[in-house]
Structure formats: C-alpha cells, structure tokens
C-alpha cells in the first residue's frame, strides 16, 4: 500500500515558519507510525527529527498528532489509520525544537511544581507499610501515566493559560494524596485551589479522550475538587467548635 506521509517540518534556526513536507512511503507490512518514520528518516531524509525509545507504549517519548489524533507513534498502526495520507504534527502547546521534537520543559515544570513524591516523615519501616490492595487500586489508574504530555498538549486551558498546571500534574497530585503513605499537609496541596490549579479545568475532558494509557486525568482533577471542598467544610466546622 502506498501512503503519503505529510510531516510538519520546522527548524527554528533556519525556517521562518513550520511547513508540511510530503514523503511517499510504501509498505505491505503491519507497522507502526514510528517504524514508518524511522524508515523515512533512514531512506529518504536523515534530517527528520523525532523522539523515541521503547517502541511499546511505556516510555512516553513519541507523543504526536497523527491525522488529528493524539497518540504515541509506536502504538499507532499505519494500516489501522485507513487513510492514504497520514498527516503528522508535533504536540501542540509546546515549542517546536526541531520537527516533531518539542520542548517538554513547561510540561515537566508543571509536574515538578506539585512536588510529585510521597511526603513521609517516618524512617523506613522495618517491614514496610501495611496497605490493602484495594487502597492501591485507587491509585493504579494514575500510576499508569507515562508522562508523555499528550493531555497537556491537547488541553484547551493550557493553550490559553500557560500558568495552568495541566491534567497530568493535577492527576499526579491526586495520586499522591490518595496514597496512604503520603503525609502531605493540606497547606501543600490546597495550593491548587486556584484557577491555575483545579478550578482552571474546563471539564471538556479532552485529556481523558487523548490519553494513550487510559489514565483519565480529569477523574483526578474532579476528585481533587471534591476533596478540596470537603476539606474546606471540615475546617470551617472544626473552627466553629
């Protein structure tokens, strides 16, 4: 089958603006978009840049927009796109460094801002924490996140407000708050009680839709909102007593 790969190219040091370049590509095999891109790079144009590593949808390197759909290029199969023209664009909401490689720093900065680690004052427990599996199940949804940045890129709030932490960071915060080992004080996580935090979310659930790992970050944002409200109310009553 013959395909046209229409790839957005941009070298910020040379080009005035990004533009599409077409590559014709023939394959009879079942192959991923990532493998096709590597083949195009090897055989047609070695200046084509994009990130990759694991090729099994676990490292989060190769997020991009493929025929309008956010996905990891390694898990998007060329034949299942069922289109003769395959348009490939870098993740939006992030600055292009070269071609399909974008600057992920704002995304990671947002994740780092929520202090993404278990807060624990204790020493290492000799036999570890006792935690029932059903407690762990509550966070399993969120630990599937591979930090690929697809949700951040697809989020309409991020695109208009760069201060907004974005879905992945907020969902990760929820993952820690739900972790029975985390002793993070309310004063720490209530910092997201803002427009740049949980109240910035438009609830259009674009993040849930695009996540290649079925994390459903918006579930975490909604749960954070509820938890914030409950904590606030609790605090008012405690104050009154």
């Amino acid at each position: 089958m013959e395909y046209i790969f229409r790839i957005l190219r941009y070298d910020p040091l040379k080009d005035e603006r990004p533009s599409f370049q077409d590559y014709s590509f023939r394959t009879e095999e079942k192959m991923s978009v990532l493998e096709a891109l590597m083949d195009i790079r090897n055989e047609q144009d070695s200046t084509l840049s994009f990130r990759y590593s694991c090729r099994e949808a676990i490292c989060g390197s190769c997020g991009m927009v493929i025929n309008g759909k956010f996905d990891l290029a390694c898990r998007a199969m060329v034949d299942s796109l069922k289109a003769p023209v395959i348009v490939i664009e870098p993740l939006p909401n992030l600055e292009i460094q070269k071609d399909l490689a974008v600057n992920m720093e704002p995304f990671f900065d947002a994740v780092h801002k929520i202090e993404p680690y278990v807060f624990s004052k204790k020493q290492v427990l000799e036999k570890g924490h006792r935690i029932e599996d059903k407690e762990m199940d509550k966070i399993f949804q969120y630990i599937n996140c591979v930090l690929c940045g697809c949700c951040y890129s697809a989020c309409p709030v991020v695109s208009r407000d760069e201060k907004y932490l974005g879905p992945a960071a907020l969902a990760k915060l929820y993952r820690f708050i739900q972790d029975p080992r985390d002793e993070r004080p309310f004063s720490n996580w209530s910092r997201v009680n803002t427009e740049g935090g949980v109240w910035g979310c438009d609830t259009v659930f674009k993040c849930n839709e695009v996540c290649p790992k079925e994390v459903r970050p918006a579930d975490g944002i909604e749960a954070l909102r509820r938890k914030l409200v409950v904590e606030k109310i609790k605090r008012i009553f405690r104050f009154k007593r």
């Binding site: 070298d11 040091l13 590597m38 790079r41 090897n42 144009d45 070695s46 200046t47 840049s49 990130r51 990759y52 590593s53 694991c54 090729r55 099994e56 949808a57 676990i58 490292c59 989060g60 390197s61 898990r75 460094q97 070269k98 071609d99 490689a101 992920m104 780092h112 202090e115 993404p116 680690y117 278990v118 624990s120 204790k122 290492v124 427990l125 000799e126 036999k127 570890g128 924490h129 006792r130 935690i131 029932e132 599996d133 407690e135 762990m136 966070i139 399993f140 630990i143 599937n144 591979v146 930090l147 820690f176 972790d179 080992r181 985390d182």
Partner: protein
C-alpha cells in the same frame, strides 16, 4: 568547561539510584541520551526479587536461599560473594523502595505481594501488577526531583577520557544544540544499560545500542563475560516486545502445535518456571523440530488464569497483546518466540563497582561484577540496578571526598572534544559512502544467525570475519543530512562504532569458550566443563586488538553441581 564532582551517565534505575545516594555536598549530575523516564528500565515488567517471605508458599524463604538460586541459575559462574551481597541487601532495598513511594501490589493483610519466577525455589518476586519497572523508575525520578538532582538530558557520551589510569571526564554530543563538548568529572559512573539492538530480535528499546560498554572498552577497561547473552523465552512474535515471566509465574502454560506442554520434556519439575536459558532453548528447539506455528513461534496460554486475574495482575501484557498483536489473551493464546533480552556480561568492575581506571565506576546492566554469571534469573536485574547503583554512588562519593581535584587536565579533554568534532566534520564532508542503518542491519543479522542461542565454531568464526568486513565498511560512513541538531543519524554513527566492538567481543568470547554454560550453548561442546572453563572471560583492547584473558570465579560456599530443574 562544565565540571562535576560526580557525573552519572544514564538515567535509568542504576543511574538514578547512584545519584540519589551520592553525597549531597558534592556537585552531582545525571547525564542521559534521553529524558530519564524514557530509559529502558521503564519497560521492566514482572518484578524484583527479595526473600520477604510474604507469599504463603514462601514462608521458609531466606536471603541465603535467594543467593543459592542466583548462583545455581548462573550455572555457577556468578561470584558467590557478590551474589550473596546482593541478596542480603535485597530485603532492605525493597522496603526502602516501598518507603520512597513504589506502589507495590499487595497481599491480604497489606504486605507486599510476591509471585513465583523462574529458577527460584520460593515465590519471591515483588511486583506492581506488570509495570514494576515503570513504577520504580518513576519513584526514583520523583525522589531526584525532591533532591533537586541536576540533569543533562539528551546528551550522548562519545568518549571516556582517561590519562595515566585516571578518569578525567567525558566528551558529549548535545542533541538539542548539535554540539560536541567536554565535561570534566572527578568521578564518572556509567549506568548506560545493555546493547540489545546488536541483535535482530530483541526485547530492548530502540535506543539500546550499548555504547556505554563500548566506550569503556575503547578507554582500555576490560569487558567481562560478554559471550553470555540472555534470550528471553517469551517475546511477542514479530515485534519481540517483552511478555513478562510473570505471565508464567501467574500460571501461564507454554504449548506447541500439538497442544502439548512441552516443558515437561526439558524441565519436568520446574516446567515453565525453569531458568530463562533452559526455557528459551526449549522453545527454540520445539520450533526447529517443527512443533511451532508457522515455524516461528509457540503459544503462551494465559486463558486458564481467567479474565479477572489477567486484568488485575497482567494488565500491561493484555494491553501490549491488544495493541501490537490484535490478540486479547483472555480469549486467545499469545504467540511468542525467544529474543535477546539482557547482557550478563559488561564492564569489568569489582564489588565497589570500581574499574581498573581510577574514578570510573559502572553499575546495572552495563556492568559485570559478576552477579548473574552465565544466566540471570528473572527479577534479579531490577534488584541489581538499585543495590549496585547505590554502591557505585556511595563509593564514588567516598573516593571523590578523599581525593584532590586535578588541576591540569583540561587540555586533554579539550583535545578529545576537538578530535570528535573533526571526526564529525569528516563524516559530514563526505557525500557518499556507507549509511549507518544499513551497516547496523547487516550486523544484526550476523549476530542473530551466528551468535545466537545455539553456537558452533564454524558460525562464530564466520561471524568474526563478517564483523571485520563491516568494520572496514564503517570507515566509509558518512552523514547524509547536514543539520546536526537532533540528528539521530549522528547518534547512530557514533554508537555503531561501539556496537562493532561489542559484537566482536561477544563473538570472540563465545568462540574461545569451548563448553556449554548457562546462556552460552555450544552445539559442538555440549557439556559444562568446570575443569577448564569455570572462569570469567576478560577482553581488553590493546593496540587496537582484543586480547583475551581469564579470571577465577569466587566460589565461597556452593560447590558447582549439575543444574537440574
């Protein structure tokens, strides 16, 4: 010039573990060719071993039994004191990881869950469903954010600079800026992982070129036991994505085209949970006997586990099978075949992770201490990375604190960087010659066809010739694209030099070792020969040629016996 007290190269588990324990008063940085979370550690699935005794069937487990299983699994090539060291530290290592936030799966009562794994006398593999590597890597990354570890991401080390037996630093290629520069360091720790992509079929990530091992070799450091290459029994047919040993640990069967659980012919007691070398050879033998499907694969059948257990314990495997093979293991058996998975061999270092070059350390898959000997047990590699990553970080810290900074070493670093720049210019000025991906494709085929699971003198000798031919062709390599920013072509050209060395060292070690031990199976020498070969292979680059020597194995408690499972 950028200068570090400790420079950790590689942001996977071993690298992050090293950085996290390094003395906070020192100026420590992690340098990696990819963002740390993209490291191949992330793809580890089934678990990490420690004799916690949490499984009802593992109550009598102990670290000594773990050490014995490791040594027996290694076909007695592991250094026994080192295997003991790792297994003794395993229990506290797991609780430490748990404390840092690793979301392990749990048993009723809230203790860390443990599943059976190959070659182990007790179920001692701790896991987080089948995403154990992902959660440990993310946890250590989280801790390094907390500790504000300095990262240099998307920098590729091209050379280790050594003067008079002392490490001065490295030369790097910065992918984002497309520039080459030196980095001075009082201690360098390599945690650069394995070389799976030297083979055609591998479970390893696309980035696993193994250049770290090759760079150490180029700097005159011996490589140890490189002929021992682990082939994982169960990789997904065609894409060779790993299907965890945990799938068999949870109860999955291997069946051939006659519907027979053929492992009973090869390891009647351990069955599917024999060590990897034995199971991988059994599968390949079945396929070659015509008992496979399409002469390519056999089935791993998980259906007996039931939908609930598969979704709970093996959700990642199910996702991989659906995404990449269009098969739901709840309904259909998984087509699997063996594929290269791990390197038992690596940079020769001692129990302190130190090499013969002062200030140079190595840990994780790129290193060989040796823990895994001729065959690594599943669940021991994650343990190895964390235990020895920490040792490397601690030892490097001690050494740096006890030494004086060298003053006059910048010139050599600058010269080496300049040399690299010139080399790149040469590759750029040529407009015809050899393309690196074609050379790599040739190399992979040779390694898979002739230096694979079943080896013989004729094939190995032929492979040596072919590798040498490719080495000649590599001299005519050129860069076809002119932009050096994010040039994967340049990365590949630089790393291919190492891949040639690795291929040669693996093949040479395999050719010389006229016996069968663990993963190294010689069709023409089918028995283990302890009298002549109970020793480590060392290959050192001298005057541009590999020189082979041998070193004794530390046998402390366990006399080598015939392995039966």
């Amino acid at each position: 010039m950028l200068s570090q007290d400790i420079l950790v190269v590689g942001g996977g588990l071993a690298g992050l573990a090293a950085a996290l324990v390094s003395d906070p008063q020192l100026n420590v940085a992690v340098l990696s060719k990819v963002h740390p979370l993209r490291s191949h550690s992330v793809a580890a699935q089934g678990g990490i071993n420690a004799a916690l005794g949490n499984n009802p069937e593992g109550r009598d487990d102990s670290w000594e039994k773990h050490a014995f299983d490791t040594i027996k699994g290694s076909d007695y090539l592991a250094d026994q004191d080192i295997a003991e060291l790792m297994c003794e530290r395993a229990v506290s290592t797991i609780y430490e990881l748990e404390h840092l936030g690793v979301p392990f799966s749990r048993f009723p009562g809230g203790v860390i869950a443990q599943r059976p794994f190959g070659g182990a006398g007790f179920p001692r593999t701790c896991y987080a469903a089948d995403r154990t590597g992902l959660v440990i890597l993310h946890t250590l990354y989280e801790q390094s954010i907390k500790r504000q570890v300095k990262f240099y991401n998307e920098w590729l080390v091209t050379k280790l600079v050594v003067k008079d037996g002392r490490c001065l630093g490295v030369v790097v290629y910065d992918l984002a800026r497309g520039e080459v520069m030196p980095v001075k360091a009082r201690a360098v720790i390599f945690a650069t992982g394995g070389y799976g992509r030297v083979y055609q079929r591998t479970t390893n990530a696309f980035i696993n070129h193994g250049s770290g091992i090759g760079i150490a070799y180029k700097a005159g450091i011996p490589l140890k036991d490189m002929e021992f290459v682990q082939f994982h029994p169960t990789s997904l047919y065609d894409t060779n994505i790993l299907i965890t040993e945990g799938a068999r640990g949870e109860g999955g069967y291997l069946v051939n085209n006659k519907g027979k659980r053929f492992m009973e012919d090869y390891a009647s007691s351990a069955m599917e949970l024999a060590p990897r070398d034995i199971v991988a050879r059994a599968i390949q033998t079945e396929i070659e006997k015509g008992n496979g499907f399409e002469d390519e694969y056999v089935y791993l059948d998980l259906r007996l586990l039931g939908e609930k257990k598969i979704k709970k314990r093996l959700p990642g495997i199910r996702e991989i099978c659906i995404n990449f093979a269009g098969i739901d293991p709840v309904e259909k058996p998984i087509p699997i075949q063996p594929a290269q998975h791990y390197s038992m061999g690596g940079i020769d270092v001692n129990a302190q992770c130190a090499s013969i070059v002062e200030g140079f350390y190595a840990a994780g898959e790129c290193a060989c201490i040796s823990i895994h000997g001729a065959n690594r047990l599943g669940g021991n590699s994650l343990l190895d990375t964390v235990v020895f990553g920490k040792i490397a970080g601690e030892e490097a810290s001690k050494a740096v604190k006890g030494s004086k900074e060298l003053k006059d070493d910048e010139k050599m670093l600058l010269d080496e960087a300049l040399g690299m720049k010139k080399k790149i210019q040469e590759w750029q000025t040529k407009d015809s010659g050899e393309r690196v991906h074609r050379l790599l494709n040739r190399l992979k085929v040779i390694m898979s066809d002739r230096v694979g699971m079943f080896r013989n003198k004729k094939d190995l000798s032929k492979a040596m010739e072919k590798i040498s031919e490719i080495r000649d062709d590599y001299k005519r390599i050129y860069i076809s694209g002119q932009c050096l920013r994010y040039s994967q072509e340049l990365v590949n050209i630089i790393e291919f030099d190492s891949m040639l060395d690795l291929a040669e060292v693996i093949t040479l070690g395999a050719l010389n070792r006229e016996e069968t031990r663990g993963s190294h199976f010689r069709v023409d020498f089918k028995d283990r020969n302890d009298k002549d070969w109970l020793k480590h292979t060392l290959v050192t680059l001298k005057d541009g040629k590999p020189r082979v020597s041998y070193k004794n194995v530390n046998i402390s408690k366990y006399e080598p016996k015939v392995r039966t499972y």
